[in-house]
């Protein structure tokens, strides 16, 4: 029944018990049902008993609704909700190590500056920068950095909050 509405990226927010094994249960559900995880981030909330996850997936309306409903059934899931693009803000964090030997130095710092990035480490042969922004912006930065020589990089996955006034831990 997929494909009826066309596949698109969507973001799910989850409030879950902060307990060992919970990540396995969430990931296991995605695996069992054949849903894709494009990115996943998780961290403790202001309540140490609860964690918040942000999961980005690709799928049509059917998969979207199934994911929310199936996740809502899990014992450890306190709330599962869609974070629609026009009703939420989404940010990702990138740490990237770029080559700077020889002439590349100027263009590297220029690129980092143009994305509002911060330089965390400056060494003889490489630079470590921190870029924050919407996932599309991070992707664009990586594309532009490729010809300059990426040594390694690390992405946080999207973090998202709804722009509504809801207080999710009130669940």
């Amino acid at each position: 029944m997929t494909g009826e509405y066309g596949a698109a990226r969507f973001t799910v927010g989850l409030i879950v018990n902060n307990h060992h094994g919970v990540l396995n249960r969430i990931a296991g559900l995605y695996g069992k049902r054949g849903y894709n995880i494009d990115s996943l981030s998780v961290g403790e909330t202001e309540n140490p008993n609860l964690s918040r996850m942000t999961i980005v997936s690709t799928g049509d309306e059917y998969i979207k609704s199934q994911i929310i409903r199936q996740l809502s059934k899990l014992y450890d899931v306190k709330a599962a909700f869609l974070l629609e693009k026009d009703m939420s803000v989404s940010v990702e964090h990138l740490l990237i190590k770029l080559k700077i030997n020889g002439s590349g130095n100027a263009s590297v710092t220029e690129l980092i500056n143009s994305y509002g990035g911060k330089v965390l480490e400056l060494c003889e042969n490489f630079i470590i920068a921190d870029i924050t922004g919407a996932p599309e912006k991070i992707q664009a930065f990586i594309e532009q950095a490729k010809p300059l020589g990426i040594l390694e990089l690390c992405r946080s996955g999207a973090l998202a909050l709804s722009t509504g006034e809801n207080h999710m831990l009130g669940v």
Binding site: M1, E4, G21, N24, R25, G28, L29, K32, Y62, S65, Q66, R69, Q70, S72, K73, L74, Y75, D76
Partner: protein
């Protein structure tokens, strides 16, 4: 009161009404079994031959009693032997509490002797599972487990209790009942009522959710009010009495002709507690194009999962039907009922055969004459299961024990034991095949030691009949590994285990054995030798529609 973990477990099992449990002892549950020994006057433990049998017994116990079945197994292999039984309960939404021992907490994660991570292994086949690392959590977890197993869509919950937690002591309260508040929006029946009023050919399709919710009377009332025929999924088979003239019986791949065809001709399907499984529904893409579908289910994730464009009503079936019936006007659909009668007539012509033949249908009919309305009937999986589903005249709800979702060969004997015990040791029937019986017949030992009056009717055709049927129809008669060529004498096997039995070759002989009172004292095997080319019909070939239905004679 300060108690050990093992003592807390026993106290809580008793407090929740689980005074009969099934299981198998072992090193990592010694403390629990010591408490079972000391409390044997308050809680009865039935030992099986194999943990799988115990898990199916707990399942059968739950289906008959409507309360969670409890199974206990040791760590490692004891725990892994439960896996099929837990998956079976999960797929059929049967409430079950599975308790496993594990190695002491400091030994966890070190590949210790008989250690497996059963919580991880069973994760996709339970409603939830717990490992108890601190005895102070145990009491709360047991209560959560019962609440989870019994509420909402029912299912199995596993509690893994390391040996050190069984031995550790803490304060026991004994007064804890967790609150259960379903997380779902209120339903609205306006749209459903509108569609019902507009329909001319309504059809009610019932599944296991009707039984889980206890909505049998409401379904019957709805059928009467709307003059609507009722088709049943295999899981819903006992939700209406056989005698109700609009009960068309099972629908689906091997469903009754009238039931399956009527469903395809309906302009409205009111689906109650079903999940539109591929075996019951066939082509799901076309389904809601030809009719309106009102889908009532307690599990929101089932609504729209297999059938798109439905009217969703999420909640308890009994509650919803009661509210629906409140001000629903009567309907008479004379043309529709005429169509139903024609279909039933066609079905009768196709089914009528030689009444003296030693055929599956005649065997089931003969045995059913010796049953009461509330006789527990268990089946295994395969051709015989379909024949029983098609032909057995079920009279009252929750009398059938059969593996629907998982299709577990070997389920039947354990289930019959659990069902028999739950029924107060009523005469219990097990229909099985020679393939299925061969899988778990070791439970004859349990039935003998417990003196359970289980009549075991073996449809013995020397082949794995259902697979053979598919090989014959779709695999150029390549009977790969389905002709058993065994020399097992099930009657001798039954006797060796301390039971009894008879080989049966004709209907006449079957009747005279039944008449002579073989059913009663303990397990008795009626080993019925039938033709290996008996087929399960009607049949809708996989992926086909009702237009492709194959009937016994050339009736279409």
């Amino acid at each position: 009161m300060i108690l050990t973990g093992a003592q807390i477990l026993i106290e809580e099992l008793i407090r929740h009404g689980s005074t009969t449990v099934f299981g198998y002892p072992g090193g990592a549950v010694l403390d629990i079994y010591d408490e079972l020994y000391k409390n044997s006057h308050r809680i009865k433990h039935i030992i099986s031959s194999h943990e799988q049998g115990a898990s199916h017994a707990a399942d059968g116990y739950a289906r008959i009693s409507g309360r969670p079945g409890v199974v206990i197994a040791t760590s490692g292999p004891g725990a892994t032997n439960l896996v099929t039984g837990i998956a079976n309960a999960y797929l059929d939404s049967v409430p079950m509490i599975a308790i496993t021992g594990n190695v002491a907490v400091p030994l966890l994660g070190k590949d210790s002797f008989q250690e497996v991570d059963i919580v991880e292994i069973t994760q996709p086949i339970v409603k939830h599972n717990f490992i108890v690392r601190d005895v102070n959590e145990l009491e709360g977890i047991i209560n959560e487990a019962y609440a989870l197993a019994e509420n909402g869509r029912k299912g199995p919950v596993l509690i893994d209790i390391p040996k050190s937690v069984q031995k550790a002591k803490c304060l026991y309260h004994g007064d804890f009942f967790p609150e259960w508040s379903p997380r779902r929006a209120a339903y609205n029946l306006d749209k459903a009522k509108e569609v019902i009023q507009a329909s001319q050919r309504p059809y009610i399709y019932c599944g296991g959710g009707v039984l889980a919710s206890g909505a049998e009377e409401e379904v019957l009332a709805l059928s009467k009010r709307l003059s609507a025929p009722v088709g049943l999924s295999m899981m819903g088979l006992t939700s209406l009495p056989h005698s109700w003239h609009l009960n068309l019986g099972m629908c689906g791949m091997h469903g009754r002709y009238a039931s399956t065809v009527a469903q395809s001709k309906a302009d409205l399907v009111i689906a109650v507690g079903v999940r539109f499984s591929d075996r019951a529904t066939g082509d799901t893409k076309e389904y809601s194009k030809r009719c309106s579908v009102i889908h009532i289910d307690i599990d929101e994730a089932e609504l729209g999962k297999n059938i798109p464009r439905i009217i969703e009503v999420c909640g308890d079936a009994k509650e919803i039907l009661t509210s629906l019936l409140k001000d629903l006007p009567e309907k008479s659909n004379p043309e529709w009922l005429q169509t139903i009668n024609e279909l039933k007539q066609k079905e009768k012509e196709a089914e009528d055969g030689d009444s003296a033949a030693f055929s599956p249908k005649n065997i089931i009919t003969a045995v059913s004459r010796y049953c009461k309305e509330d006789t527990p009937v268990a089946t295994d999986v395969g051709q015989h299961q379909m024949w029983v589903s098609q032909y057995f005249p079920f009279g009252s709800p929750r009398t059938l024990l059969t593996s629907g979702g998982l299709g577990t060969m070997g389920y039947g004997f354990g289930a019959a034991i659990g069902g028999c015990v739950a029924s107060g040791r009523k005469k219990t029937l097990l229909f099985t095949g020679d393939g299925s019986f061969g899988m778990n017949l070791n439970e004859l030992a349990t039935a003998v030691s417990q003196k359970l009056p289980i009549l075991i009717v073996v449809f013995n055709n020397g082949v794995l009949g259902m697979v053979r049927q598919w090989q014959g129809m779709f695999y150029s008669e390549h009977y790969s590994q389905t002709t058993l060529a065994r020399a097992t004498d099930f009657v001798a096997v039954a006797k060796a285990f301390g039971g009894d039995g008879k080989s049966i070759y004709s209907l006449e002989q079957l009747n005279s054995e039944l008449e002579s009172g073989v059913w009663g004292a303990g397990p008795f095997v009626l080993d019925c030798f039938i033709d290996k080319d008996e087929k399960v019909l009607p049949m809708i070939p996989p992926g086909g529609t009702v237009n492709d239905i194959i009937l016994s004679r050339e009736v279409r």
